[in-house]
């Protein structure tokens, strides 16, 4: 933060030339975005493979002999943590955030490119530390992704020797990396927009990423602090979270700590985290729907306020994850109410997406398919969330497969669908090539139908009481035979879905060289990133002149226009009557632009 080059002037845009400065130690937000995404996908693949292994054990117990009880817990923990933090958070904010923010608001780069570069390298360090835990004595931690003490730091939990230490260290490093990046994203959006780019003209993608990042800056501190405290408990023997415990007749050296405190701190981070991965998806899906349905987003302002309301509310619902923790039942009452309230802005968003599609010119492109599946999956998972938000329903369902099905639908599958949709949508801008359409269609249909085959039956498993985080159900009498058959079927579906992701990766690499050459604006989209002079955009994004923005990002199918869309940087046309679409029409921003130049 010591370096203090203020707003860049155009002439100091020296372009890096050597391979190293261009692609490795790059300060260009576009390169950093790709680095972030590739790293996140790479570690995400590990999490995917772990899910196959878990599914093999659940569907065909004992078929893979190297999976013992400890290994199963370790797989589940690493799978969950990687998916939530190191894949989804990193790819939405570090990946899409980095790539899209400067391009969509019309900036040349992030405000502090050097800090931005550091953010990626520190993130990579966090990933390396995390991966290292697979290779230390005792292996990675098996404490569950929630890492609840006391068990996570006591003997008997796999990985208690080194795994838990590395996990916590890696999380702390990740938070440092996220903070460096997040400060950049927020400042860029607030202070470095193009002429004419008001906040209420920003594409919803930018809004979603903006609010999610801001939430991250306020929520990650709780994980940071609880991580540090847990680390101290484990390493130097403080007792923040561990009460008096008699283990095998001997009292442990701990005493007087509060395990509930950890749960509160963890979920004060953990619930906003759900929205940290959901809000960018909300934003992106709004833009994908609008572009591929050739229609303006319905209720733009409402969408922005709903994002904001969700962001604020999500900080006061955290204890709905703790109904069975033994906290004061009065809390349960309060948190159930706030949880149900948060459904209101969320429902507004869903209505607006659907209304955007109403009588629209829907193009069934691959990004559109993924967007539609997002709405379906998100609504599905959201509805079961409403059930679980009520204490009386949650108590019997808590820690069953119903919960697993719920959170995979709402924060696993739904955001991942948007990650895919977004990659199919922006790949042409990033690489200059189109992704292969037929491969994309296969990828979509297998993934979409497959995830329903996986998670739909899990709701049923939850109802019959199958508990989650179990290595084996063989000796549990109340579980009916049919549940075992169902588990086998789910495993088959999971493996097929997994294979489809390999097809996707193949497509990404194949298209890089063999893909059809992409025009500058293949989807005829209005937002600024499609209006760059070069595709892929060059260093500095805009050539000599920065773009000037004249309208919001949703002028599609405008009556009287030659093309069916008007890019954001197109000046007002004679045929446009005032007050048509732009939420800012009452303000003379556009007209002043020209005179002010």
């Amino acid at each position: 933060m010591v370096e203090h080059e203020d707003e860049q002037s155009d002439d100091e845009n020296h372009e890096p030339t050597s391979f190293l400065t261009k692609y490795v130690w790059s300060q260009d937000h576009k390169v950093i975005a790709v680095q972030y995404s590739l790293t996140a996908i790479a570690i995400g693949l590990v999490a995917l493979v772990l899910s196959w292994l878990m599914r093999m054990q659940l569907g065909f117990p004992g078929a893979l002999e190297f999976i013992d009880e400890d290994a199963y817990y370790q797989y589940a923990t690493m799978h969950g943590m990687i998916m939530v933090i190191y894949l989804l958070t990193a790819i939405f904010l570090g990946g899409f955030g980095n790539y899209l923010i400067p391009l969509m608001v019309g900036a040349r780069d992030m405000v502090f490119p050097y800090l931005n570069m550091l953010s990626y390298w520190v993130y990579l360090l966090a990933v390396i530390v995390l991966t290292a835990s697979f290779f230390v004595p005792g292996g990675p931690t098996g404490a569950g992704w929630t890492l609840y003490p006391p068990q996570s730091i006591l003997q008997g939990t796999p990985g208690y020797e080194w795994g838990i230490i590395l996990m916590l260290t890696s999380l702390v490093i990740f938070i440092v990396a996220f903070t460096m990046g997040g400060l950049n994203y927020v400042t860029t959006i607030l202070q470095a927009r193009a002429r004419g780019m008001t906040l209420m003209r920003m594409p919803l993608t930018v809004w979603g990423i903006f609010i999610a990042t801001f939430m991250g800056l306020l929520a990650f501190p709780a994980l940071f602090v609880s991580g540090v405290m847990l680390l101290l408990d484990r390493v130097i023997g403080t007792s923040f979270f561990v009460p008096e415990i008699i283990s095998l007749g001997d009292p442990l050296a701990y005493g007087g700590g509060s395990p509930l405190l950890f749960q509160h701190l963890f979920w004060f981070f953990g619930h906003p985290e759900v929205y940290i991965v959901a809000l960018p998806a909300f934003g992106i899906v709004s833009d994908l729907l609008s572009v591929h349905a050739r229609k303006n987003i319905f209720g733009y302002r409402m969408m922005v306020w709903a994002l904001l309301a969700i962001g604020v509310l999500s900080f006061i619902v955290w204890a709905h994850h703790m109904y069975v923790s033994g906290m004061d039942p009065a809390f349960g009452f309060f948190f159930a109410i706030t949880t149900l309230i948060i459904a209101v802005p969320t429902a507004i968003k869903v209505y607006n997406w659907v209304l955007t599609l109403w009588r629209a010119d829907i193009h069934m492109t691959v990004p559109m398919l993924f967007s539609l599946s997002f709405i379906l999956t998100f609504v599905f998972g959201g509805l079961t969330g409403l059930f679980l938000g009520n204490v009386v329903v949650d108590v019997p369902l808590s820690d069953t497969y119903f919960v697993v099905a719920h959170f995979h639908m709402v924060m696993g599958v739904a955001p991942i669908m948007i990650v895919f949709g977004a990659i199919y949508h922006w790949y042409p801008k990033i690489t200059g090539r189109m992704l292969h359409g037929a491969m994309g269609q296969i990828h979509f249909w297998v993934t979409f139908l497959g995830t329903y085959a996986i998670y739909f039956p899990m709701h049923y498993l939850g109802f019959v009481g199958v508990p989650r985080r179990y290595y084996s159900y063989d000796e549990i009498d109340f579980i009916p035979e049919s549940a075992h058959d169902l588990n086998a079927a789910i495993t088959v579906a999971a493996l097929i879905v997994g294979a489809a992701q390999l097809l996707f990766l193949y497509n990404v690499f194949w298209s890089l060289r063999k893909g059809e050459k992409a025009p500058a604006n293949p989807w005829k989209a209005t937002s600024l990133e499609w209006q760059t002079p070069q595709t892929p955009p060059a260093h500095g994004n805009w050539g000599k002149e920065l773009p000037v923005v004249h309208r919001w990002a949703y002028d599609y199918s405008v009556p009287g226009a030659e093309e069916d869309y008007l890019p954001q940087n197109m000046p007002r046309q004679p045929f446009e009557k005032s007050g048509a679409h732009d939420p800012h029409d009452d303000k003379p921003v556009t007209d002043l632009q020209e005179s002010d130049k």
């Binding site: 203090h4 707003e7 927009r193 193009a194 780019m197 501190p221 940071f224 405290m229 007087g256 921003v589």
Partner: protein, 231 residues
């Protein structure tokens, strides 16, 4: 920044009320905080995030203090120094707090000098701030040493609840790290100011940005002081 904002040209800022002005700024293009540099806005946002870090630390402290089963030691006794035969409760901490608050004063003067474009004075005042900060840290080291000699450890405490030692070392340690980082930060910026690094642009806002961080660290101390020593 010299960029004329598009929006402010449309209204008459002198007549507009503060709320109208706020709305106008936020609905304008380019920047939401008019005339605030990138570095300064980023520092503000960082401090907001850091507030949550310290807030969580202190919340954790309060919870642990209430949940622990052993009695909490009396701070007036634990933090007393015996000087010339008399036991003076909280004397060291009073001096430390005084030193740190004074450093906020010198910092504020440095910012003022920066805006008056008196780089020499600004730099020296920043260095004075850094010296006061270093004094604070050394007194903290002294306090830690004393407590450790008396047998207080992060995991143990002869005066009562072991959590007293845990939270004390953790939170004052984390704050002390912030002060130490601030001393380094101040020294670096002061050196740059002295070398004339900002003469060309004539923009000494960097002094204010450093000051924001420093005042924040002081403010946090006030809370730690109240919660640890007065409760």
């Amino acid at each position: 920044m010299g960029q004329k904002s598009v929006e402010s040209a449309s209204g008459n800022p002198d007549n507009a009320g503060a709320v109208d002005q706020l709305v106008a700024d936020w609905s304008s293009d380019r920047e939401a905080f008019k005339g605030v540099s990138w570095g300064k806005s980023m520092m503000w946002i960082f401090l907001l995030s850091d507030t949550f870090v310290f807030g969580t630390f202190l919340t954790g402290y309060m919870t642990v203090r209430m949940s622990t089963t052993v009695a909490w030691p009396n701070p007036s006794e634990v933090f007393a120094l015996t000087i010339g035969g008399t036991e003076l409760p909280l004397i060291l901490i009073a001096i430390m707090t005084f030193v740190l608050i004074s450093s906020s004063g010198t910092m504020a003067m440095a910012v003022n000098m920066g805006y008056q474009r008196k780089p020499k004075q600004a730099a020296y005042l920043m260095l004075a701030t850094a010296v006061l900060g270093a004094m604070f840290v050394s007194m903290q080291v002294f306090e830690w040493t004393k407590l450790i000699h008396e047998g207080v450890r992060p995991w143990a405490n002869p005066f009562g609840a072991p959590q007293f030692g845990s939270t004390f070392f953790m939170i004052t340690g984390f704050h002390g790290l912030h002060v130490t980082a601030g001393v380094i930060y101040l020294t670096v910026v002061a050196t740059k100011v002295l070398k004339g690094h900002y003469e060309k642009s004539g923009d000494y806002q960097v002094v204010e940005i450093t000051g924001l961080y420093w005042h924040f660290v002081d403010l946090v101390w006030v809370f730690i002081f109240a919660f640890f020593y007065l409760w």
